[in-house]
């Protein structure tokens, strides 16, 4: 039957339809999408892969924080940034098991937990990404603009920048705080049914909920778009610009360690791209086609891709301590002292020799800018 005859059949009684009843079969029904592939992936990724990410991220980032908190008295600008990245990543991995737990248990921790967890997720995402952009800008100033770096890379200056970054991250997350709510979706509550129905326990979700259609449409596009632009493309562009200039300057300099430094810079950019590009492409595609009609196979595939690529993006917070902090010789020396202080025997097992081969510390004394840059440059570790 077609839409064209709907007006004709409007006032017909039920019995008139009886003859058509046999013609409609189960294959013609288009029901709500079950996302079965995505659910089977989530069953594995949710509890198991996220556990690994949580543990690795927790260990790595708390070691960074402990090292800075207790053993680094003279903090440079880079140290302040690295400490803030570690704090953002640690908060993120602390929230992750709670989010996974709640998603599996119909948000049993309540509506405040829903808002706080979704909001803190967003805050940490933005602050983490923007701080990585700040680190690249800091290295750019230290190496490329070495003459100005003495003035620009002061401690109060970096504290102000970190405060601005966190304030921006919180501001950008305000919509998440407002629009994430714990509720029972209306379409899973059965509105009207004949006969006796089996009443399931209420199934809560922590998702967007709006008061009107236009806000809903705008915000459902605005939130992922902001995440794409400010949480990915802006830091990526800043990093590409800064690190390209850094690599060009390093290759020109007559420093015997420059190749190691270039390798570290490339590793930072490549890992960033591998971790975040797949997820952001999927997010972009999903946002672009959000209101279009899709087959369930396609939307299940998109959803599954999103789950997998998001997990890859989460991995980044475990890699940051290695890529940024532990790669620096000075940081490792401080860290080694902690180990020595904690376990006197530790010195014997964690021999300095094991790590020192892979080290890279860049002295920015690139000969050209001698004045003032030596003390400044010595604090710059990669």
């Amino acid at each position: 039957m077609d839409f064209s005859d709907e007006d004709m059949t409007l006032n017909q009684s039920d019995s008139d339809f009886n003859y058509t009843y046999d013609y409609y079969d189960i294959n013609d029904l288009i029901g709500p999408c079950q996302y079965s592939n995505n659910h089977s992936v989530e069953q594995v990724v949710g509890p198991y892969i996220h556990t690994i990410i949580c543990i690795l991220g927790f260990v790595g980032n708390s070691l960074v924080i402990v090292t800075y908190a207790f053993y680094k008295r003279t903090k440079s600008m880079t140290d302040i940034y690295l400490l803030n990245v570690a704090i953002a990543d640690l908060l993120f991995v602390a929230a992750l098991p709670l989010i996974v737990y709640n998603e599996l248990t119909s948000w049993s921790m309540g509506s405040l937990a829903c808002k706080l967890l979704r909001g803190s997720y967003s805050v940490n995402l933005y602050s983490g990404m923007l701080l990585l952009a700040c680190i690249s800008a800091d290295r750019y100033i230290a190496i490329v603009q070495a003459r100005r770096s003495f003035r620009l890379r002061s401690l109060p200056y970096s504290r102000v920048i970190c405060t601005i970054v966190w304030a921006c991250a919180i501001l950008l997350s305000v919509p998440a705080f407002i629009y994430y709510n714990r509720y029972e979706p209306t379409h899973t509550k059965e509105a009207m049914m004949e006969g006796n129905q089996t009443s399931l326990p209420p199934q809560y979700v922590c998702e967007f909920k709006f008061t009107d259609n236009s806000t809903a449409w705008r915000t459902k596009v605005a939130i992922p778009s902001t995440q794409l632009v400010i949480g990915f493309f802006l830091p990526l562009l800043i990093m590409i610009f800064c690190y390209t200039a850094v690599i060009v300057t390093l290759l020109r300099a007559r420093n015997f360690q420059r190749h190691k430094a270039v390798r570290v810079v490339l590793a930072v950019v490549v890992v960033f791209l591998i971790c975040h590009l797949p997820y952001n492409i999927t997010l972009f595609y999903d946002t672009l086609n959000l209101f279009e009609q899709h087959s369930c196979e396609l939307s299940d595939t998109v959803q599954t891709t999103k789950t997998v690529t998001q997990t890859i993006a989460y991995l980044h917070c475990c890699l940051n301590p290695v890529l940024y902090a532990f790669v620096g010789v000075k940081f490792r020396n401080h860290f080694r002292r902690i180990i020595q202080d904690l376990w006197c025997l530790g010195k014997r097992y964690i021999a300095p020799r094991r790590f020192s081969r892979a080290t890279t510390e860049i002295y920015v004394s690139t000969r050209r800018s001698v004045d003032g840059s030596s003390e400044n440059g010595s604090s710059f570790t990669m």
Binding site: M1, D2, F3, E6, T9, L10, D14, F17, N18, Y21, Y24, D25, I26, D28, L29, I30, G31, P32, Q34, Y35, H39, Q43, P47, H50, T51, C54, I55, F58, V59, S62, V66, F70, P97, Y101, L104, T105, Y183, P185, T186, H187, T188, K189, E190, A191, M192, M193, E194, V205, E207, F208, K209, F210, T211, D212, A216, F291, Q293, S295, C296, L342
Partner: protein
């Protein structure tokens, strides 16, 4: 500080590890496409409403039939007609039951 960290770590680890044992996953279904054909009214047992102000991206009326759920376009006349007829049916049952109790 370190013992505190270890404690938190162990708790986190246990929490996450124990998860799959005592939970059933919550499935959120969404209509992403509408039926192109009309369903006979007699096959319908009830309906529910999917609105785009919640997690799903499109509005839909989901008819519960004997053979499963069907996503339909709320902008079509026959869909809203079915909804009204289901509502009237419920209203009539309500009135009859109220009278019987008097």
């Amino acid at each position: 500080m370190v013992s505190f960290n270890v404690t938190v770590m162990v708790i986190t680890f246990l929490t996450v590890c124990l998860l799959p044992t005592n939970t059933s996953a919550v499935y959120h279904e969404c209509c992403r496409r509408y039926m192109k054909i009309k369903i006979p009214f007699v096959a319908i047992k009830g309906y529910s409403v999917q609105t785009d102000i919640e997690l799903c991206p499109i509005n839909a009326i989901i008819f519960h039939t004997k053979k499963g759920k069907a996503c339909t376009d709320p902008s079509l006349n026959w869909v809203m007609d079915y909804v009204n007829r289901l509502r009237n049916k419920a209203q009539m049952v309500h009135v009859k039951t109220s009278k019987a109790h008097e």
